[in-house]
């Protein structure tokens, strides 16, 4: 027994530093896990912790430690960016144009397409179509075919634009004169005014720096005026 006790004491002397190390280790471990020593920058999730919002695909990496939590997106500007039309072929460029496929047509004068007002109704398109048809008939009688083929495209387009504007302008001024005489139809007036504005814009865009042959223009106008009195076709 004595021997055993002394042996135990001897062993105890040896194990004392080990016990101290274990105590310190336990103390350190319990200290680190204590809530009173919390030092995280993020709040600990509570018992009713909501599920993080879904992160849309491609929205970047989530914040470390909290998947799906990201800074709120800046509000988008209400001003939409309007891009200029590109000269690149579109997605359906290889397809047959629908208008051509379906037999659509555009009014032309001497093969130059004449623009219609962009937001026009069917009735609004009629004055331009009528003017283009009348001027095209007159111009084809006056201008020889070989002269037409020799005419530069810029000159031809300017001539077509000037002729259509001449027609719409003539009718506008006729309507204004009729208004002075007591004849006034607001809807007819509005249509011709819209057609005249479109024709004037087309003329301005087509004729900048393009010289005019007044004799040729005058001959076509005379032929057109003669058609006006010739009656309905």
């Amino acid at each position: 027994m004595t021997r055993g006790t002394s042996a135990h004491l001897a062993d105890g002397k040896d194990t004392l530093p080990t016990m101290r190390y274990l105590s310190l280790l336990l103390l350190f471990a319990s200290g680190c896990s204590s809530p009173s020593h919390h030092s995280y920058s993020q709040a600990a999730p509570g018992p009713g912790f909501p599920a993080p919002p879904m992160t849309p695909v491609g929205r970047g990496a989530p914040v470390v430690g909290q998947p799906g939590h990201q800074a709120p997106e800046y509000p988008r500007s209400p001003h939409r960016r309007v891009l200029p039309p590109a000269n690149e072929p579109g997605l359906w460029a290889a397809d047959v144009p629908r208008a051509a496929r379906a037999g659509g047509y555009s009014p032309t004068v001497l093969d130059i397409p004449i623009p219609l007002a962009s937001d026009a109704s069917l009735e609004d398109m009629l004055p331009t179509t009528e003017c283009a048809a009348g001027m095209d008939r007159a111009a084809r009688r006056v201008v020889a075919k070989d002269a037409l083929s020799r005419m530069a495209l810029t000159v031809r387009q300017c001539l077509a634009a000037r002729l259509v504007h001449r027609c719409t302008s003539s009718f506008m001024q006729s309507l204004e004169a009729g208004r002075m005489d007591g004849h006034y139809d607001a809807e007819v007036f509005r249509r011709w005014r819209a057609a005249n504005a479109t024709a004037e814009a087309f003329k301005s865009a087509s004729c900048e720096g393009v010289p005019v042959d007044p004799a040729l223009e005058k001959s076509i106008i005379h032929a057109w005026q003669a058609d006006l009195w010739r009656g309905d076709e």
């Binding site: 555009s106 398109m125 083929s149 495209l153 005058k218």
Partner: protein, 95 residues
């Protein structure tokens, strides 16, 4: 071609010519001119509506075709660079 003039000179001449033309008409003649024009527009509208009806499309679709046809025709006249039109129109492209 005869003598060429500037746009401004041609515009001034056009304005004078229209005024002269209108002044040469009596009010009844001007009225008859407008009435004749209105009849032609009514005929044109009836023709277009018949076409719309025959094709089974709406007016809006017909209008959209006009704009598309214009864009196609303009693109046919000009190359990729809209500021550089062709020197002449291919005769074979004419209808």
């Amino acid at each position: 071609m005869s003598e060429l003039v500037s746009q401004a000179a041609a515009d001034a001449e056009q304005e004078r010519s229209i005024r002269e033309w209108l002044d040469g008409m009596t009010p009844d003649q001007r009225r008859a001119l407008i009435d004749a024009s209105n009849r032609r527009l009514a005929q044109l509208k009836a023709k277009i509506l018949a076409e719309i009806h025959a094709e089974g499309i709406t007016e809006q679709e017909w209008i959209a075709r006009q704009h598309a046809a214009y864009a196609v025709a303009q693109a046919g006249l000009k190359g990729p660079d809209n500021n550089a039109p062709q020197a002449s129109i291919d005769e074979s492209s004419k209808e």
